[in-house]
Structure formats: structure tokens, C-alpha cells
Assembly symmetry: C2
Homo-oligomer: 240 residues x 2
DNA sequence: GCATTTCTCTAGCGGTCGCTACAAAAAAGA
DNA sequence: TCTTTTTTGTAGCGACCGCTAGAGAAATGC
């Protein structure tokens, strides 16, 4: 499972320039090194104070891997500062609190690792082909030794004592199933799939497969084993 | 997912009577109110000291529900003492530390809620029928409003900072898949299933379905939705 | 009665949690 | 140089974590 991507990194710091009564850096999410006023179109004006001593993106990637491996709760701020190799105040200044760092990680995960699902849905010519590709790519991705096994969106916030975090990942999972369902219904409308298909159940089946595969990957299944599983699972599709 | 039951409640206090140098109550797991010496066959000898002020079994059930709902880590000892309605020293005297309480909870879960899988494998005449029944019963159990959704063994120790706990549930999940695989291979041996079936992949597919269904139940799927999913999933089986 | 055994209650241990105050450090603008 | 702005390191806050010492309470055996 994964994304609903689109990476709109707006967030709270949207529009709030003039009134200077606001303390707290408000978890600055500016992606590059732009100056604060931002109304100035000055292209190369350096930011005012002491420059950051670390690269924000690589630090974010380290946090991503830590959250992916251990989950939201089990990854402490102290763990994060260690793997990101920065002090706690730097973390809070650059990313806000732990939760907003996690939210940014989830967004980044959607872009970097979780986009295969949306890509398959968008690029393949039938729902059948899209789901087949999606599952095969999941088999590869979830067992890629270059990063933790399984899917962050599935595993990073189960049994989480912060209900909002758990809920946000749940919404991503359910949105993905809804996207699969829409793709199936589109095929039904064009006649590429029979009209008597239960689109909701078929989409939910696909979602359950992906989530089950993610769990299997965490439990030690290899890419080949997951691929064998996918070939079995695809047998349910009406012949096209 | 679930059990590998058999409920052998032996544990560390197996054989170690005579030398009295042992302090620490050793997390007494005696299920009923038997006297300590135990060599005496006296049937109705009451235990020596102050009797327990709570019922051990109902307290265990309360702990089970709490762990089921929130998982191992997210359920604090303070949460446990509140829902079990006992003080912390009583909890430690009766169940040992948090981890051994959790282990006992998992065993109890296997007996009370997770035995449907083994029962289906043992009682149905074919692997096909056993898996069909297993999945249908999972659809009912995982959405039963009388207790938390999904499967404790699947969800209670993901992203757990105590690796041993995570591993013990992982072993239960994999053992269940191994049991399904054995049942499939038995059918292949008798000719009830074709000889060219990939038993391992088919068993893993079933395991992934169960785990995915558990996740779906947690994410809000109804019993009817899971049952529709099961009917789709069963279409993969070779016609018998 | 009295000693013994066991459980319960209060209180609090050391440790980690997420998070922040504060001052020194490093840059730009004057 | 001097002020301003921002980041960095140190150090520690209050809250909660799992767990337990110690005294009192409630039972049995004598």
C-alpha cells in the first residue's frame, strides 16, 4: 500500500508574512534555501542567519528509513537524532515536532517508494493489467534489500497510541483501494470488464492482497515467493 | 491468523521444588487454586495466605482485550491495572512481568479466539473446504463487535521495540501457514488436489488473505464485505 | 492467642519519553 | 566592527514507562 501521492507540500506556513508577533519557527517546510520574506523575487539571496550544518533531504531520508523499519511509536526522537546525525533542537527547528516529521516522511515515502500503484493504474490499459503490474511491483519493492521490508503505510502506525497518526495511514490505505475500485468501474463502463463484476469486492481483494504481501515480506517471504503468490491471486480475474 | 494452540501451560516453573533458596514468586501460572507443595494429593487444601481479591481468569480476559485493541507496546502497565481493576503489585504477583502476561494472553487468545483455523484444517475433509471455512470464519470473527477487530496475532506486535515479542507472533503466523501447507500436501498425496499444485505458494496465498482480511477489518470493512472478498479469493482453487 | 504465609496498598525507584530554554557560534547586513 | 538573524550544543524540564520495596491486611496452622 502506499500513496495517493501528488506531494502537495503546502502545510500550515501557507500565508502569514507581515505580523511579526509570531514566535516559534512553525516547523518550516520550505524545501529549498529560500529567504523568509518570499515576497522578494530575489533569486539568489542567501538566508540571513547561521546556515544549516546538515542536508535536510538526506536527514529526511534517514528518518524515513528509521520510521519504515520500526514504525512511528517505536522510533524515538533520540533514535531519530542519532540516525539523522543532528541534535534535537536542529530536528525540531527543521521539521517541527515528531508527528509533523512523520507526516513529511509519509509524503516523501509516497513519492519515492509508494507511487508504483498509482502509476500502474494510470499507465496500464486495463484494470486487470494495472493490478497485475501493481502486485508484481509490490512483490519486488516489499522485498528489496535496499530498504526495510514491506510497506511503511501498512506497518508504521498499527497499534499506535496517537489515533490521528493511525487514522492518517488508514485513510491512505482506503484511498488506494478506492482508486483501484474506480479503475475497475471504468473498465466495466467501457466493457473491458463484465457488467456483473463486484467492483468494490474486487478492489478490496486487491487491497487485502497487497497488505497481506507486505506482512509476508516482513515475515520473511522472498520476492520469488511473493511473485508465485501473485500469479495465483491473479487467477480470480474474469478472462478478458 | 492465530494459534498453533495446544495450551501447554508449563513455563519456567517446571521442576524445581526442594531447594528453598528461590525468592521471587516466579510468576505463578497455576490456573486454579491449588496449594503450592502440589506433591500432596490433598484435594481441597486451601492455599496458605491471604486469598486473591480478584478472579484471575476475568482479569486475564480484560488484559487480552486491551492488548488485542491497542497492541503490546501501546498498552501500558498502567492501562492494564486500570482495565483489570487491580494494583500493579497484584498484577506482577499473579502474572509476572508485562511480557509474560502478554505471552499468557496470546496463549489464551489462541484457545478462545484463534482456534478456528486449526479446527477447520482438522475437521474438513479437503484442504479446499478447510480453507474456505477458515476464511469465512475469519470474516465473521474479525468483524465481531463483541471484541476488537482483526487478529491479535497479526496486529498486536508489529513495530514492537521488543524484538522477542514481535518474533514470537511472527512464528505463530508462519506456523499457521505451514499447517495450511501440510494440509494441502496431504490432499495432493491422496489425489484430492492435482500433483502440480504449488503447495507453498497456495498456503502463503491463504495466509496473506487472512492477514489482509485482518487489516481490512481493522480499517473498517464489514463482515459482508470480507465475505464477498472470500468468495472471490476462493476462485483460485483448482476445481475438485 | 500467636506465628506464618500470602496478597494488597501506597509510594516511589531509575529510566526514557517528547520537547525546549539558553547561550555560544556562524552567517548576513549596517 | 557591530548588530541582527538563525542554527547549534548542552542541559534538563515534566510526564510517563516498567517495576518494586515495605508496611499493613487477610487468610491458615499451631
Amino acid at each position: 500500500m502506499h500513496s495517493m501521492v501528488s506531494s502537495k507540500a503546502s502545510e500550515q506556513t501557507g500565508t502569514q508574512g507581515p505580523p511579526a508577533t509570531d514566535r516559534r519557527p512553525a516547523a518550516e517546510s520550505r524545501p529549498a534555501a529560500k529567504p523568509r520574506p518570499a515576497a522578494k523575487p530575489g533569486p539568489a539571496t542567501k538566508p540571513r542567519g547561521r546556515p544549516r550544518s546538515f542536508d535536510r533531504e538526506t536527514a529526511l531520508e534517514k528518518a524515513l528509513l528509521a520510521f519504515w523499519e520500526h514504525g512511528y511509536e517505536a522510533t524515538s526522537v533520540s533514535d531519530l537524532t542519532r540516525v539523522m546525525d543532528i541534535g534535537a533542537p536542529s530536528l525540531y527547528a527543521a521539521f517541527g515536532d515528531k508527528r509533523s516529521l512523520f507526516e513529511e516522511v509519509v509524503r516523501e515515502y509516497g513519492v519515492r517508494y509508494g507511487s508504483f500503484s498509482d502509476r500502474a493504474l494510470a499507465e496500464e490499459s486495463t484494470a486487470h493489467a494495472a493490478v497485475a503490474r501493481m502486485l508484481r511491483e509490490a512483490a519486488a519493492e516489499y522485498t528489496d534489500p535496499a530498504h526495510p521490508y514491506g510497506c511503511l503505510v501498512v506497518h508504521a502506525a498499527t497499534n499506535c497510541s496517537t489515533p490521528e497518526v493511525e487514522e492518517s495511514l488508514r485513510e491512505r490505505r482506503n484511498a488506494n483501494i478506492a482508486a483501484i475500485r474506480s479503475r475497475i468501474e471504468a473498465d466495466m463502463a467501457t466493457g473491458a470488464l463484465p457488467a456483473d463484476v463486484d467492483a468494490a469486492a474486487l478492489a478490496r481483494h486487491t487491497g487485502a492482497m497487497i497488505q497481506g504481501m507486505s506482512q509476508q515480506a516482513r515475515d520473511g517471504a522472498s520476492q520469488e515467493e511473493l511473485e508465485a503468490l501473485v500469479e495465483i491471486a491473479m487467477a480470480i480475474w474474469p478472462r478478458t
